[in-house]
Amino acid sequence: MTALEVSNKAEPDFDVIIVGAGIAGCIAAYQLAQQGRSVLLIERGEAPGSKNLSGGVLYCRGMQEVFPDFLDSAPVERRVTRNYINFLNAESSIGIDYKDTRLADPVNAVTVLRAKLDPWLAGKCEEAGVFLMSGVRVDRVLTENGATGKRVVGVKAGDDELRAHVVVAADGVNSFIAQEVGLRAKQPLNHLATGVKCVVNLPAETIEARFGVTGDEGAAFAVVGDCTEGVGGGGFMYTNTNSISVGVVLRLDDLTAKRKVATDVFDHFLTHPFIAPYLEGGEVIEYGCHMVAEGGLGMLGEIDMDGMVVVGDAAGLTLNTGLTVRGMDLAVASGVAAAVGIGASLERKDFSKAGLAGYRETLFASPEGKDMKTYAKAPAFLEVERMYKDYGELIANVLYGAFNLDTKPREHLAKVAIRAFKKSPVKVRHLISDGIAGVRAL
């Protein structure tokens, strides 16, 4: 697809056109409207949120800075106070169960369902004066040749050409817009994963009893190992008010190399004897999938050019640290930073890449931007094969040696551990190298 060349230099229809009413797009739109700018927010779904899907945990402190009443007025599901990290083997399961009342006050993370959250965000935008256009697909951007090369001057949707001083590409992980203008190259498969998820309906009391939470508290389960049949990635279970979001995220290089079928791996996880009891009796009310950027900082494309910035998933802004899997909070941070950078460029009437540099500066000065740099080595660490099979089995075999009183006299735990270690494909040098890499990456 080539960008449409346009020579007509009419006065723009809007200060800013934002493509995509997800989290990053809505936050940028809201903040710019608050500054008094004219903003057009274009969404291809019939209603905002109807095309959007996430795993479900939003680290919400940044969102609360934009909307101080977020927790009380937004349609959030549960406040996450229990994080369960689980190594799952075919016949065993080892978990770290982290519950902490400090996570509830102040609230740090909530579960969300995007088809409910995004309409609320878009509604806030409209209240602030944003012009929302739903059910419209942007086909391409309009460009002109400027002094420093190609610059973006608007968008084309069907027969309509709409112009703005600045365009924001908030069109998600596939960002056809960022690709079209050459800001993002086709990604290698180890930078991408496919997320497969379903939502299972269950009564709130059942969810609370099964997940050991009360009231509006919730749990987030992160699972590695046999849940993905050894494919790099993991499984998750998040509690909503009256449902559970459950699914797998599968790294595409490993999924294809191991010749596994995504839907088979998903079915395997949901029917796993350690997972199925949580879902027992529930009804699947929705099934969906979404591509996930897994490359971290290494995947972050160019995020600015003359007349345009790229935010959220479209910029590759996701972060998997092994413990926390983040995307929506980065979308918020990039939306906020984009509004700052674009606001300054509108002030100075300089819409060039240099004029928009405030976006990049603000983003990387934010805690979220700094985290992208801190965890730059995490994706490579998480590609270590042993994480997804051997370590879980090794730990289980040591524990089995300790707990299985099989009428034979016990041995010292150290001996049991050494024997389990000798049987395992994990070698001392792996422990050392993975240990060092882990400390450095995480």
Binding site: R44, G45, E46, A47, G49, S50, K51, N52, L53, S54, L113, R114, A115, K116, L117, D118, S134, G135, V136, R137, A157, G158, V173, N174, F176, K186, Q187, L189, L192, T194, G195, V196, V199, S243, L252, L255, T256, R259, K260, V261, A262, T263, F266, I285, E286, Y287, G288, C289, H290, M291
Partner: protein, 80 residues
């Protein structure tokens, strides 16, 4: 909502067969849109598409033309 008039997926069967990428496309699609036929070609049930874009990521260059359905058409999540 199904777009009866326009498919948003086009397969270049020659490239698919020549590269053998049909297997990976069919395996990675969580919506089971693609079926690999015995001759190595791909059949497509575009109405089932959940619009994630994974097929395009694993396809050999030129094997697939895939874009979002027209505005207002395609998958509508109620939960997300």
């Amino acid at each position: 909502m199904l777009d009866d008039d326009q498919t948003h997926i086009e397969v270049n069967q020659e490239i698919v067969k020549a590269t053998g990428c049909g297997t990976a496309i069919a395996a990675c699609c969580a919506a089971r849109v693609y079926t690999e036929e015995p001759d190595g070609s791909l059949s497509v049930e575009y109405a089932a598409c959940l619009e994630c874009g994974t097929c395009l990521a694993v396809a050999a260059p030129g094997a697939l033309k895939w874009h979002y359905p027209r505005g207002g058409f395609g998958i509508q999540f109620r939960e997300g």
